[in-house]
Symmetry: C2
């Protein structure tokens, strides 16, 4: 009898792990449990589906259950893994629709349960009309609610990536939208100047931003439905619908209950091959922690791109290959209204927290030669270590064609380049693509001059 792999969770990480393992080792029995109604979908695409930019829910699905089945994977939809017995090496499952349950034995197990939205512990948070946007089924529910036509006022709690994307989506649908965030600028993973530009972009679209103010309570009507968000400062923001955009935390309940160790960050602890500390038990995706290559710390970063890579690595290793996931450097990108923003490495606050002594240089330039039609504003910010000049972090904010340029700087950081080395790089130049001094190179030059001045003063 062949060996058996059980995968808990059928989205990006689980689906990739199952696919890769089966592909590498075709005689492997692969069973994949998914408690939702979809496999391998783009959670990041949900806001665009809600706005209507993406018409069809099916477009968000990279691989359907039937496609997985055609590849030889035994997919069990709407089936939740409710227990893992590491001694007997079985997963206990429950059919959420039929109500049946049972045990599934495994030789290898992949834990890919994803994440769950943060829910602030405030009164009313569990009322009807309060939505997270985490799994595709959340999106389905939210879209159905909006389609009913009784929602006019939406309050989004949390001004992170997802919060702002949902705010924009609701605005596109013509709703009144307010975003509440505890910080003085939204998207706190960026430095405040970038956050301010993002806030301006959102405001230009008519979204109200309530900043430096948290959520104290959800006011619930006699029908049991949320009717307002009450802020810490006492403001009452009427809402027909409340969306939680406070980020997510790793879904580790089942791991904890069954004895799969977590790491310092609260995610499942894995090594570079995606092995947990339990023999034959692997984990991947939003539920695991990764090594941050700059800070050395373990961090949880919920991103589809990591989930796909980690799932692939786990699957390859299970299938008898050898692969590693080398860690993350905090790269992220977002488009909010007409503004694009991206970051990589450490923000100023993160560099401070990690104890670095650094200089910061920002340059305002254009995405094309200044004289070229369509040249749009772009700001490149670099954070470089004092004395060494090593690039620690970078942020880009601008209009179209701006933010994806962050990848170049992510690779500079990955390779531990100094700003002095960066300013000499052979980057592409032609007038439709950049000024003759590329904004990235100008920023490096400015950062280098700051580092140099600093060294001179020593």
């Amino acid at each position: 009898m062949g060996k058996r792999l059980v995968v808990i969770g059928g989205d990006a990480a689980g689906g990739s792990a199952a696919s890769q393992a089966k592909k590498r080792q075709p005689d492997l029995d692969v069973v994949m449990f998914e408690r939702g109604r979809a496999t391998s979908y783009s959670a990041c695409g949900i806001p665009y589906w809600i706005s209507g930019a993406v018409e069809d829910e099916a477009a968000l699905i990279a691989r359907t259950p039937d496609q997985h089945r055609a590849a030889g994977i035994d997919v069990r939809m709407r089936t939740e893994a409710v227990g893992i017995d590491l001694d007997r090496r079985v997963v206990h499952w429950r059919d959420l629709d039929g109500g049946g349950e049972g045990d599934e034995p495994f030789d290898d197990l992949v834990y890919a349960t994803g994440s769950v939205p943060m829910r602030p512990p405030v009164p009313g948070i569990d009322a009807e009309g309060v939505y997270g946007v985490q799994v595709l089924d959340d999106g389905v529910a939210l879209r159905e609610e909006l389609a009913r036509g009784s929602v006019r006022r939406v309050v989004v709690v949390g001004g992170g990536y997802i919060g702002l994307e949902i705010a924009e989506a609701c605005r596109v649908r013509g709703l009144d939208v307010t975003v509440v965030d505890r910080s003085s600028t939204p998207v706190g993973t960026f430095d405040p100047d970038v956050g301010e530009l993002i806030a301006e972009a959102v405001r230009r679209e008519g979204v109200e931003m309530v900043l430096s103010d948290g959520v104290a309570a959800i006011d619930v009507g006699p029908d049991g439905r949320a009717r307002a968000v009450v802020t810490g400062s006492g403001r009452e923001l009427p809402a027909d619908l409340v969306v939680l955009g406070l980020g997510v935390r790793p879904n580790v309940r089942l791991a904890q209950e069954s004895g799969i160790p977590l790491g310092t960050s609260g995610g499942v602890a894995v090594d570079a091959r995606m092995r947990t500390r339990i023999d034959g038990v692997w984990a991947a995706g939003d539920c695991v922690e990764s090594r941050h290559r700059l800070s050395g710390q373990r961090v949880v970063v919920a991103l589809g791109t990591h989930a796909n890579k980690q799932g692939r690595v786990a699957g390859l290793n299970i299938g008898g290959g050898y692969a590693t996931f080398p860690g993350v450097i905090g790269t992220a990108i977002t488009k909010v209204c007409d503004t694009e923003a991206a970051r990589t490495g450490l923000s100023s606050a993160e560099a401070d927290a990690a104890g670095y002594s650094f200089v910061k240089a920002a340059v305002d330039s254009t995405t094309r030669a200044g004289y070229f039609p369509g040249a749009a504003p772009i700001r490149v910010t670099m954070i470089a270590e004092r004395r060494s000049g090593r690039l620690l972090g970078a942020q880009i904010v601008g209009r179209e064609d701006a933010a994806k340029r962050i990848d170049a700087l992510a690779i500079c950081i990955w390779n531990e380049m100094t700003v002095d080395e960066i300013l000499s790089l052979d980057l592409s130049y032609a007038p439709p693509f950049s000024p003759v001094w590329d904004p990235v190179l100008i920023a490096a030059r400015k950062a280098f001059e700051a580092v140099e001045d600093d060294v001179r003063q020593l």
Copy 2:
């Protein structure tokens, strides 16, 4: 008395060298000779000025003679350096308008004479109506000729970057345009599949491409003006105007005559600090050769971005600082009609010529998540060394937002990364910017699989 720097050539390299040196050492006397009518202009912008996309000639000028003078540089316009006496350390100059001439003594000299267009040695090449497009004055002349309204048919000789950009510019002006190129696909610095996509883009705009056919002669009318281009295969292409787009060669005549040594590539030989082999004589820009970091060969690459950097390095060193130009890796980018293309490192032909054993992997993907509005085609090609998997070259071709992504791969090559390392990079992901597997990462994965298969077969 202060030391004196003489700069020959007032465009990107010369202008940058003069500015930096003066900035670093304010008591330096700086004299800059420029034989044309403009300083520090964007030669790369000329095609867009000819098309009308850029309205104003002045927009192409980064720094006017008066701006240089305000910075303390003694600019001598329309003044050609006609001799360099390295023993007496003087430059002999001639005023092209007034006719005066004289000697200018120097302590340091920057040779920044740029390049001259290639002119095939065929009958009629020097006739009226045959234009190169190299300096701004060429652009002025060409634009005036087009403005006269008597030109209907244009033949562009050479299908390189500039040739195609000029062809498009003339087409935008409503002219009949034919491009003649000896190769079977245009822009020979790309692999043929990319060249073919570029050719299709140009043809879609109504430009006729005559490929695999060279120029044998220019047929000259009784008025002394070019009236047709005769190809090697005997075709006669009627032309009211002929534009040479065969590329450029370094302008080294004066260096040769005065004893400043050239390198193996035919450009002025310089070290990383931009010193020629003559003490106190520096060189920068299109006229010098650079070290290709992959092949180790010396190469001449005429590009404004290199010229600016090299000029800055020379000026910094002359001004008492320390800076180096670390070489090039062959990065280039172009937009032709609706198609963008970029390259870095070695093409297949170049990798062959350099003796590498390599695999090639190409991926057709989209610039945004496939479901996202505006997702445009992008093809990423990677050339990786067999066994080691080191990335040797990459090419990107696609529509809007595609080509500038080459910078990421340029930095991978710069850092000698393998495709295995590249496929794990923390690149930015969100649906408006890429599929969850970024096209760059998919290409790296495919190249890695090709390398891996190859190793297994050994």
